[in-house]
Amino acid sequence: MSSASVVSSSPAPVGDEETALVLDGVTRRFGGLMALSGVSLILPRGGRLAVIGPNGAGKTTLFRLISGEMRASDGTIRLFGEDVSRVGERARARRGIARTFQVSNLFADLSVLDNVRIAAQARSSRPRRFWWPIGDRDAYTLRAREMLDRVGLAQRGGDRVADLSHGEQRQLEIAMALVVGPRLLLLDEPAAGLSAAERKVLRRLLEELPEGLSLLLIEHDMSLALELVDHVLCLDNGVPLAYGTPDEIRANPAVQAVYLGRRD
């Protein structure tokens, strides 16, 4: 895994071929409210970064800006060397971004297998037999089954999503994000609402992510987040508060005061 280098003021000059994501002075305003102000960072290819902060810090807004669901009021976003600031969500997805949602966003009336299959066929460059009934040996179906096996849902392929537990739905979210073969994975609070046993399964799943995959993770579970990443960015009220390795962040008094609630 390559080490992530991130700055919270202005990005250091790094070659485009080495970076997965570059944010330069990204700002987002909602009327008079400044949700995010001047966030800059560089995530190298294969780098893993956690974004932490208390509720309302601007973490999910940052994700929405990166994924293209929302446009930045100011600043630029470069994805794999290309300026995508004015590019929509669909086009960014096709450039290699995959994401999970804070609240599971799945196809509730479809089977677990069909959910992953939809994701599998989303970005394939192979010619599709588009009008032909889907078969069990279809390339997308096989890939979807393989991914379900990898995330531990092989036995649940035929079940409806609505019948899955919350933890399984989070696993399915990750399966759908991974099956597209992303270059940058955005995980928005993947452990939210999970039991201790389910967190263990999730942690193992995230530890097994492909080596070259760049990861941006929002997570409230500090023990989980800090073990999975090599750098952490702490936001507070939409402003970068601290940046460093997990150990540096744990020891940072400002982070402790704002995020961990200690005021020494």
Binding site: S67, E69, E89, R90, A93, R94, A98, R99, F101, N105, L106, F107, A108, D109, L110, D114, R117, I118, A119, Q121, A122, R123, R128, R129, F130, W131, W132, P133, I134, Y140, D149, R150, G152, L153, A154, Q155, R156, D159, D163, L164, S165, G167, E168, M176, V180, A197, V201, R204, E208, P210
Partner: protein, 338 residues
């Protein structure tokens, strides 16, 4: 589905199709004609069902597309064009109407889609009503004779039955294809589809073209059946009645449009002769269906069969749910495979 269930299912389907082909030999011309009306209505309802069932897009203006095809055929007939010319004009009008419907509705969903299609239907109605030099205005275009070979009522019935079977099979194939699965994804979560990289408006446009093609077939058959077309064919009531057929039969079910169309046509043409306020009864039936079988009659029956089967032996889902975490050994194997 077990092999036994599949055999039973296909035997029932084969028997129903066989009965449908035998009916003209045992029923009088009036009833055969009613069956033709029901099948044409079922085809139009199927065109709405393919959108509503797969993509969750409920249209209130599909009669407009059917009427456009019907007017194309009727106009070409009155110009003295041959059969292929008439069908070609009907196809052209179907494509034009479907493309227009698709373009104005591809970025909408839910109530917005419903209102946009309703407006599109009213525009077709307005054109049919006002452009009297071409459409005949309120008098419509009468005297559209059926071509030789389907001139007799029973011949026409066989044509309509064949058309219904082909349309139904085609829509089953579409529903089970990658395209159909994509539409179902759009129905369940558009935002997720966009985040996966799908061009959602383009798929909606494609779905409208498929649906419009089916509506066009219904429009041509309707004109051949009544040998007449007027603005009423494009009116709100036609679209709404087709939507009721789908909702009554079961949105997203294969047989729902046929069951719904059969019931509505029976109420309209048979019950109306003994009970003047047949529409009230239809309304009551619709309300009862919404309360007791919100997924429609076919959906409700399927649900009931599923519940009975579950009670008679299939392990409940809770038992299966116990195995949801994989064993570590299994995980390690998959990791080595990478």
């Amino acid at each position: 589905m077990s092999a036994r269930t599949a055999v039973v299912k296909w035997t029932v389907i084969a028997a129903l199709v066989a009965v449908a082909f035998v009916l003209p030999y045992v029923l009088g011309s009036y009833y055969v004609s009613l069956l033709s009306i029901a099948l044409v209505a079922a085809i139009l309802a199927s065109s709405i069902n393919v959108l509503a069932g797969n993509a969750g897009l409920v249209s209130l203006g599909h009669a407009g597309i059917a009427a456009a095809a019907g007017y194309g055929l009727a106009w070409a007939y009155r110009q003295g064009w041959d059969l292929w010319g008439q069908l070609g004009m009907a196809l052209l009008m179907t494509v034009v109407a479907s493309v227009l419907y698709g373009l104005i509705s591809m970025r909408t969903r839910g109530i917005s889609f419903l209102m946009v299609t309703l407006a599109a239907g009213m525009i077709v109605y307005g054109i049919a009503y006002r452009w009297s030099s071409v459409t005949g205005g309120t008098n419509g275009l009468p005297g559209i004779r059926r071509p030789a070979g389907i001139a007799e009522y029973w011949q026409f019935y066989f044509l309509v039955l064949l058309a219904f079977l082909i349309v139904t099979i085609a829509l089953i194939v579409v529903g089970r294809s990658s395209f159909g699965l994509t539409l179902k994804g759009i129905r369940d979560s558009e935002t997720r589809m966009v985040s996966l990289g799908y061009n959602v408006p383009l798929y909606k446009f494609g779905a409208m073209l498929v649906s419009g093609a089916v509506a066009g077939i219904a429009g041509v058959l309707a004109v051949w059946h009544s040998e007449f077309i007027s603005p009423v064919a494009a009116g709100f009531q036609e679209s709404a009645m087709s939507m009721i057929m789908v909702a009554l039969g079961g949105i997203g079910t294969v047989l729902g449009p046929l069951v719904g169309a059969g019931l509505v046509v029976a109420f309209q043409h048979m019950l109306s002769s003994v009970f003047e306020r047949w529409q009230t009864l239809l309304g009551v039936l619709f309300i009862l269906s919404v309360i007791f079988a919100p997924q429609g009659i076919v959906g409700g029956v399927s649900d009931l069969v599923r519940r009975i089967r579950r009670r008679s032996g299939t392990p409940p889902r809770e038992v299966l749910a116990v195995q949801f975490h994989p064993d570590p050994q299994h995980r390690d194997t998959s990791r080595k495979d990478k």
